[in-house]
Structure formats: structure tokens, C-alpha cells
């Protein structure tokens, strides 16, 4: 087999050195009844060519050649070529977590750059090396806020990504962490700050909002922060569309920022792998989950980097750790790092401006359901037909329409969430608008 690098004579010599006559003998110590006494019921091995063919056939059963207006947490942005070039290097692809700093300075240096750029983007003081994704970063941020405040109740806006809220519910259930939702304003799609104020109580340790929120609307971070802080809670700001940070004021009033970086050159890949982040204020460093890279020197006095503050982590702290996370999403974070480098200070802004322009062009042809300010997504109400019927009609034109919202928001069952990015073409927007309007 091509992945097994031994000739028969080498294998024989090794078996001899081990004092056994066959490989099976190496398992002779396993108790009777434990061993599988039949072959696995799996097909025999196949060639590279056949593997490529298999996955091409599967891909052919999926959407190709469609224009898409789906966003809702996963965005179609162009991936600069350098991203694949860099992450295809075996030195990044096939190395482990950088525990041995002397031979992992490549990974460690890029993570330090990543942490720095995430801080610059979010207005926070520290950022970790990544979480699994945005959805799991939310409960991690909630648990962090609960530890920091000693208060167990969590308030989360209904306009946070519904699947993120579901993940939070799963994690929170057994930790004595009641989670309560507060609403959005029916006209604007913005946070209902009065509802937030009403629902605050002295036991609330975290208020969680998303901006731009699930409807694409830019939220009032400052006002939410003021309410949370006045009641002694921390404000967690979530983002799913990282490109928005090229243009939007960073959520500097937040105590914790929990986000998803899929927009930074990560292919949608049917839902993963992506990369989440947690960033925070300096005073909460010791409550952070996940890995952190710090700057230091080597014994010759040269700048060097290493994993640090690991007394927060499971391999040292075990059941008292800040999180159980071990493997994170390092290579995906590297993709995001290359993406941020390629676009840089000017490019990220220009990219965000293009997204803004495309979405506003499309919105100009339709009637947005909410009057709040939006970035590259917005909600429209389906007129006459249901969102599902409209999407069916669009498929005939090789267009995948937006996300019908009924499955997550029964009160918006007649609405669709549409997204336009720099990759959305004018002709497709015009075609969509004809069917949708």
C-alpha cells in the first residue's frame, strides 16, 4: 500500500527483531473475545484516480454554476491565491501544535501576528489563537463572563445567529447557567434596548449581542454596553461577517468579542472547518479559553515566541481549566492571517465598501423589511408568494435565493435573508430582483 513505507524484507527484519514470526503475534496478548475475527466490512483500497473520480461525482450532485444570495453566517468571498499557496506548504500543513518552540517558530510567529491583527480589528487588547468556530466561541465567551463576574445568568439577543444560540443552550444547560433571550425591534431589526433593560437583573453576568446581527443590521454596541455595565454584567459582542470590520467601528466597548472568521478566505465547505476567535480586555486574560502565543527571547537573546499562560488550560489545570479545548483551528487561522495580509489596511476597507455597495444596490431594487442600517445582508418580505416558492422559481434561473427565515423566526415566515458580496454580479442581482420583487 502506498502509504506504508516498508518492503517485505524490511518488515520481516523488524518482526525478527521483535521476536515474533507474524504481525498478528503482536496482538496475541489481547484477550479472547476482544479481537475482531472477521475482516472489516469495507471495500478494498482504491487508487488516487478513483478517489478523485468519486469526489468529483459527489460534487456533481451538488450546486455548481449557481449564483447564490445565501449569507446567514457563511459568506462567499474571493480567496486570494496566496492563501492556498501558503497553507499548502507542508511545514504549516503537517506540523503539530507548537509545543516545541525551537522548531515551531513559523507557526508561533504567524499566530502572534494573527492575535495582533484580531486586536487591531476588534479594538480588544488580547486575542487567542482560535476557537473551533463562531458558534462554539459564544458559549466559551459566556462561560468566561460568568467566571469573571461570578454571576451565572446570560442574556442573549434573539438577533444573534440562531444556531449559535442553540449551541449556547447545549453548553449552558448543565452549568447552572440560565440563558434568557431578549428581543429586537420589529421596525428596525435593531436590539430592543428597553427589553434588555427590563430583563437585566443582579444575577446577570453576560449580555450577548451580534453586529451586524443575523438580519445584517448594525447594532448599538455603545448603548448595550452601557446597560450591561450599569448592571455589573459583561458585554459579549459576536460577529459572523468579519469583512464588516473593515468599515465598521470596532466594538471597543465590549468586554469580550467572539467571532467567526469564515469570511477571511475560508471556503464555505458545507459548514466547516472555519475558525472562531475570542478577544478581550487585558484584565480578563486569565479567564481566556484556548491557546495564546507570547513573545519572549531565546537563550541567545533573540526574539522568539512560545505558547504561554497555559496554566489556564486543560493539560495543566484539568477539571479547573477555563475550557476543555485542545486542538483548535490553527491552519484556518493561518488562512485568515494570509487573507488579512493580502488585503491589508486599505484593501480590507475597499473590500468592505464593495460589499456595502453591492448589498445596497440590491436592496434598492427591493423593499428591505427592516429600516435599520445594514452592511451586506438584509431581510425582504416575500410579496404574494412564499419565500420557498420564490426560491424554487429562482433555482430555475440557476440562482440560489436567500435564506427563508421561518425555520428560525416564525414571526418572519414571510421573509428571506439576502446577502450580496464583492462576488455578486449585477446581472444576477437584477435577475433575482425580478423574481423576488
Amino acid at each position: 500500500m502506498r502509504y506504508l513505507p516498508k518492503s517485505e524484507s524490511e518488515r520481516r527484519a523488524m518482526l525478527d527483531a521483535c521476536g515474533v514470526s507474524s504481525p498478528e503475534e503482536l496482538f496475541a496478548h489481547l484477550p479472547e473475545g476482544v479481537r475482531l475475527n472477521r475482516p472489516l466490512n469495507l471495500a478494498p483500497g482504491i487508487s488516487e484516480y478513483e478517489i478523485v473520480e468519486y469526489f468529483r461525482s459527489r460534487a456533481a450532485e451538488c450546486a455548481t454554476g449557481y449564483a447564490s444570495f445565501l449569507g446567514a453566517g457563511v459568506y462567499h468571498h474571493f480567496r486570494p491565491v496566496l492563501v492556498d499557496t501558503v497553507v499548502s506548504r507542508g511545514e504549516f500543513l503537517t506540523s503539530y501544535t507548537p509545543y516545541q518552540a525551537e522548531i515551531a517558530q513559523g507557526t508561533l510567529t504567524t499566530i502572534f501576528e494573527f492575535q495582533t491583527m484580531i486586536c487591531q480589528l476588534t479594538g480588544m487588547d488580547v486575542a487567542n489563537a482560535s476557537m473551533y468556530d463562531g458558534s462554539t466561541a459564544v458559549p466559551e465567551a459566556a462561560m468566561m463572563a460568568v467566571r469573571a463576574t461570578g454571576k451565572g445568568r446570560v442574556l442573549i439577543a434573539k438577533s444573534v445567529h440562531p444556531e449559535y444560540r442553540e449551541v449556547l443552550a447545549t453548553y449552558a444547560k448543565h452549568q447552572g447557567m440560565p440563558v434568557v433571550e431578549f428581543g429586537y425591534i420589529a421596525e428596525s431589526g435593531n436590539l430592543d434596548l428597553e427589553d434588555l433593560e427590563r430583563q437585566m437583573d443582579p444575577l446577570t453576568g453576560a449580555v450577548i449581542i451580534q453586529t451586524p446581527n443575523f438580519f445584517g443590521i448594525v447594532e448599538q454596541v455603545k448603548a448595550a454596553a452601557e446597560i450591561a455595565h450599569r448592571h455589573g454584567a459583561l458585554l459579549v459582542v459576536v460577529f459572523t461577517e468579519a469583512v464588516s470590520l473593515g468599515l465598521l467601528e470596532p466594538p471597543a466597548e465590549a468586554d469580550i468579542v467572539a467571532g467567526e472568521l469564515q469570511s477571511f478566505a475560508i471556503s464555505p465547505s458545507y459548514g466547516g472547518p472555519y475558525a472562531g476567535i475570542i478577544a478581550t480586555k487585558g484584565k480578563y486574560i486569565r479567564q481566556m479559553p484556548g491557546r495564546l502565543v507570547g513573545q519572549t527571547t531565546d537563550s541567545r537573546g533573540n526574539r522568539a515566541f512560545c505558547l504561554t499562560l497555559s496554566t489556564r488550560e486543560q493539560h495543566i489545570r484539568r477539571e479547573k481549566a477555563t475550557s476543555n479545548i485542545c486542538t483548535n483551528q490553527a491552519l484556518i487561522a493561518l488562512m485568515a492571517t494570509v487573507f488579512m495580509t493580502v488585503y491589508g489596511k486599505q484593501g480590507l476597507r475597499e473590500l468592505a465598501e464593495q460589499n456595502l455597495a453591492k448589498a445596497h444596490y440590491l436592496a434598492g431594487k427591493l423593499k428591505p423589511r427592516f429600516c435599520g442600517k445594514f452592511f451586506n445582508e438584509f431581510v425582504v418580505r416575500a410579496e404574494g408568494k412564499s419565500p420557498e416558492e420564490i426560491n424554487k422559481a429562482l433555482l430555475k434561473k440557476k440562482i440560489i435565493g436567500g435564506l427563508p427565515l421561518g425555520r428560525f423566526y416564525p414571526e418572519l415566515a414571510d421573509c428571506t435573508l439576502l446577502c450580496a458580496t464583492e462576488m455578486t454580479k449585477r446581472a444576477d442581482m437584477d435577475a433575482l430582483a425580478e423574481v423576488q420583487a
Binding site: 469495507l42 497553507v87 525551537e102 458545507y270 519572549t296 533573540n302 485542545c326 491552519l331 484593501g347 440560489i400
Partner: protein, 492 residues
Amino acid sequence: MIKKVTNHLSQNEALLFERSSPGKKAYQLPELDIPAVDAAEALGAENVRQEIAGFPEVSEVEALRHFTRLSTWNYAIDYGMYPLGSCTMKYNPRINEVVARTEGLAWAHPYQPESLSQGCMQVMACLEAALAEICGMDAVTLQPAAGAHGELTGILLIRALLEKRGNPRLKILIPDSAHGTNPATAAIAGYAVENIKSSETGGVDLTALEQLVTGDVAALMVTNPNTLGVFENNIVRVAEILHKKGAMLYMDGANMNALVGIARPGDFGVDVMHLNLHKTFSTPHGGGGPGAGPVAVKKVLEPFLPTPRLKRSGRRLAFDYKRKRSIGRVKAYYGNFGVLVRALAYIQAHGGPGLRNATMDAVLNAVYVRKALESYYDLPYQSPNMHEVVFSDDRQAKLGVRTGDIAKRLIDYGFHPYTVSFPMIVHGALMIEPTETEGKLEIDSFIDAMISIAHEIETDPQMVKNAPYNTRTSRVDEVTAARKPVLRWKPA
């Protein structure tokens, strides 16, 4: 004698921020095909940021060189043996990378219609079935993102079942040899952790277990083979003791590379387990992730699996979201799909018989290393080992050299170190896992290096304590890094 490596020019490289100069660009956007929009007007002036202070500005060639230069400062499987115990650092087949980038799969949006996602769903269904067969279990969820995430999913499943039976119970038992994620996970799932001391042979102590399993115990989390690389010979008995008291057996499947095609956890009493596709199934570690941590369960636990579940409806696949007893979601969407694609490609390449051969070579390599090194390094547990072998630095410590020093010296010989100081039940552990994708030449050269270091320690222990010498970065001051944390770059 150092034979594997020779020094070679290594490029210096500044941080991106230090290379930046205003106006440099590595991008070009297309001309807008629609009118531009005034950001302040569309978003509200108060919502529009100033420039992103400090953000890099470099040209394309500089960006490429930056990351290429940094990459050469890493060691990687592509350079040679990477015997990190418990991590299963095997060759990452490149075909996996190619198929994961197939356009219809890589660009599939998780919310695109199911009718236009059948290929993705088929990949997931095939992988679920293959993993269930490999583990001897009845159902598999692919949603968890890594091993620790799988552990959490598994323990929540146990909790849900016990709750339905009337009492979720209070404690999870965890051997003192376990990985740190096990106790950390139990705590997040709302359980108290009770440590169970390993027996003299390093396994689960049956007498201790019988005493500890009370009506308060929800489950035992066991790693099998355990973190010494030793199969739990009493595993069937362990399962019986737990089951008799209504408790469950969770298996950390990080070490499945010792068992695939040889023995199945489902056949020896395990109720729920996770796999690490980034270990056993060859998906790349990427400097720390991404991974995938599918969870396999027996039938009784199936109703509680995370939503959504794949189901067949006629010739089509569909997602079932209406599962009343589910623990809920552990992650948005369906899992680290791109990692799942790679794992399925790996299983297809080997096929059933091939996977078993791979397991046999993995164990052969570890036993071979043990035989070659056991007269140089102390072997605290004598039971037959499987895919990895754990020595202690007992002999070398007498001369003041610890496992961490030996590891650093190994770097000079051109190898990545083994896992240092884990498991905790071995004082000064050297945990070596060669994996099946190392040939005889590479392993012999590793053995030579380890023997040579053992001799060096006898003649010049101080030299070993200051290693490595051949790296561009010498020993790193981790203490200062933690004492005065500098976690981001700032302009001087």
C-alpha cells in the same frame, strides 16, 4: 553522531507590521459594476471606523516571502519522523487536500437546498457508516470539531440518557493516566470528577473501580489502549462493573490507531466514544487544527445525538431536525465537513484490509522501538505495548538530565521530540508513537539518535541540558513569557 541533518541557510524575517509601508498593496479588486455607496450615509457616520491602526501594508511578493520564510522555521511530518505520543502524527496524504478542494464540495453553502447538497450528504453518510463499522457501534455523529468537543458531546449524551432514566448522577470517574481534556470535559458537562488511581500495571484497577462505582457515578472515561500504549486487558470486566450499577463506559478513542481492523470498542463493552480524524484518519494537524471528533454510540444513545441527523428518505438524503430527545447542537451546521472529506478519502485509499495492515505496522514500529531502546531507557510498565511506548527518564535524571532535555537534544538530530511529561503517572515520561507511516530507515535513524543521546548524557550531561544547538532559535525562555505576557505586537 548526527547523521540526519546538516545546517543550512535560514532566512531572517521581520514581523509583518515591521515590514509595512503606507500604500503597499498585495491585492486588486475588480471595478465595481454598480454605483459606489457613501459609507457614512449607509451605515451612519458614528458607525464607520477610522483606519485600522497598525494593520499591515505589504506587497504580494513580500507577503509570499514572509510566510514562506516563516514556514521554513517549522519542523513537519514532511521533513521526517514526528513521534509525538498520543498525537498519531502520520503521513497526510496529498490526495486528501486535492479532493477537499473539489469545487462543488468546497463551495457548498450549508444552507443551500438539500436537493443541491446530495453529494455532500452522501460523503457524510458514507463516513458515518464506515466509522460505525470500524468502531463496532450503531450510530455516529460527525458534528464535533475535535477530540475534546467529541468528549463533551459523548458525556452530554450519557447525561441525557441517565436523566431520562430518572437520575443524571453526579460523578465521572477518570483514571489518573487520562488526558487533561477528559476531566475538563466532565466539568463542562456539569459533573464532578473523581480520579481513579491506575493499578501497578498501569491499567484500570478493578478493585478500586468496584469500590468507586456507586449510584452516583454516571460513567468512566477510559482511554484504550491507555496512555501507556497498553491495552486494558480487563476492559470487558470494567464494562460489566459499570453496567451492573447503571453507569456507562466512555472511551477516548485518541489511540484507535492501535485497534482499527483488529478490535472494536463496541464489541468490548464501550457505550460511547469519540475518534480523532486528525490522528487515526490522517487529516493534517495544520499546526494545531482543524480536526474533527466524531462520536460513535450504541443504539440506546442514538435518540440523544445532536441535531440535525442525516436520514434517508427514499433515494434521497435529508436532515432530520425534529428530534425531541436530542442534546441539541454542539456546533453550527453539520461538522468540519472539509476534514470529513479527507478522512473518507483516507479510508477509501486503504480499504478494509489496508486499514488493518496499517494498524499492524503501527504496532510493529512501536514494539520495534521499545526493543531497541529498552536497554538504554527505563521502561516503568512492562506490559506489552501497542502503537506507542512510554519510557521514563529515571536513569538520565540521576545525572541531572530530564525528559525535556532529551527532547531538545533530539531536535539537534533532526527529529521532532516525542511527547514530554505525559502521562502523569510516569515520572519524566518519554512517550513515543512512530505511527505506521515511518519506514525502517527512518526509525533506525531515530533509534540511533536516542542511543547516541543516552551516551552523551553519560559523558557530558551539561551539553545535553543546553540543547538544541542546531536550530535558528535556541532554548526559549517560557518562564518570562508567562510572567510578563506580551501577546500582541505594538509599535515601538
